[in-house]
């Protein structure tokens, strides 16, 4: 296996011009894009006006590990 030189490592991981992906040891939440919104009364009933954030209890398996 070829050992990359330290310079190449630095260039790849410390230079945003070369490495634009998510960084190690950082948590990422994607930015929400405004698409469409619920009418106000439905928003109040659902707890959000954004359909993409409307995830009621039980719908997402990762939120119901113990339920």
């Amino acid at each position: 296996m070829i050992q990359p030189t330290l310079d190449i490592c630095n260039m790849l991981y410390n230079n945003p011009a070369f490495f634009t992906g998510p960084k190690l040891a950082h948590a990422y939440v994607p930015f929400q894009q405004l698409v469409c919104v619920y009418p106000p009364m439905k928003g109040l009933e659902r707890g959000t006006i954004f359909p993409e954030l409307d995830r009621p209890f039980g719908i997402d398996p990762e939120y119901t590990a113990d339920a």
Partner: protein
Amino acid sequence: MWIYDKKLEYPVKIKNCNPKMAKYIITQYGGPDGELAASLRYLSQRFSMPTEEARSILNDIGTEELAHLEIVGTMVHQLTKGVPADVLEKNGLGAYYADHDHAIYPISAAGNPWTAEYIQSKGDPIADLYEDLAAEQKARATYENLINLADDPDVIEPLKFLRAREIVHFQRFGEALRIVEDKLAQKKFFITKPEFLKKRE
């Protein structure tokens, strides 16, 4: 400064008292992952945030958590209103009644009084925002536990609303984290060494 609206963010109209449920729900008033901790955490951390967006997000969410504190307080009040001392006692609220009668006091479900040890304000915006993301997940998990313990739709509906808000808050804190990380990264990174640094060598 705040402007107060004399209504709840989500209506609470509980027809049947349930002191046992009140004893559990009060944890979101004064417990470790409750709304008092959330509001004071965010409203304190906002001062040391490096961008206007992060300050605004903490300010807005901290404000909304105060509105949630009011909802949870109302729920506990309605669940215990007019319940005689002996019934409170049978439902695990004897000690609470001795100290607080039918008043609302910030404690956890286990009876521990609220403490600032539940929150941190670190002065490091990354550390603070990660705490906030975790706090939203812990609050969501607590609301899910409370929904599992409840059987009255008058109680479950506001709990579902409060749970849903935690997911929205998590998204906003995630966006704040990226804005802050981008800003902090910009400050330290130069593609070519700027002139003023060269001169010093």
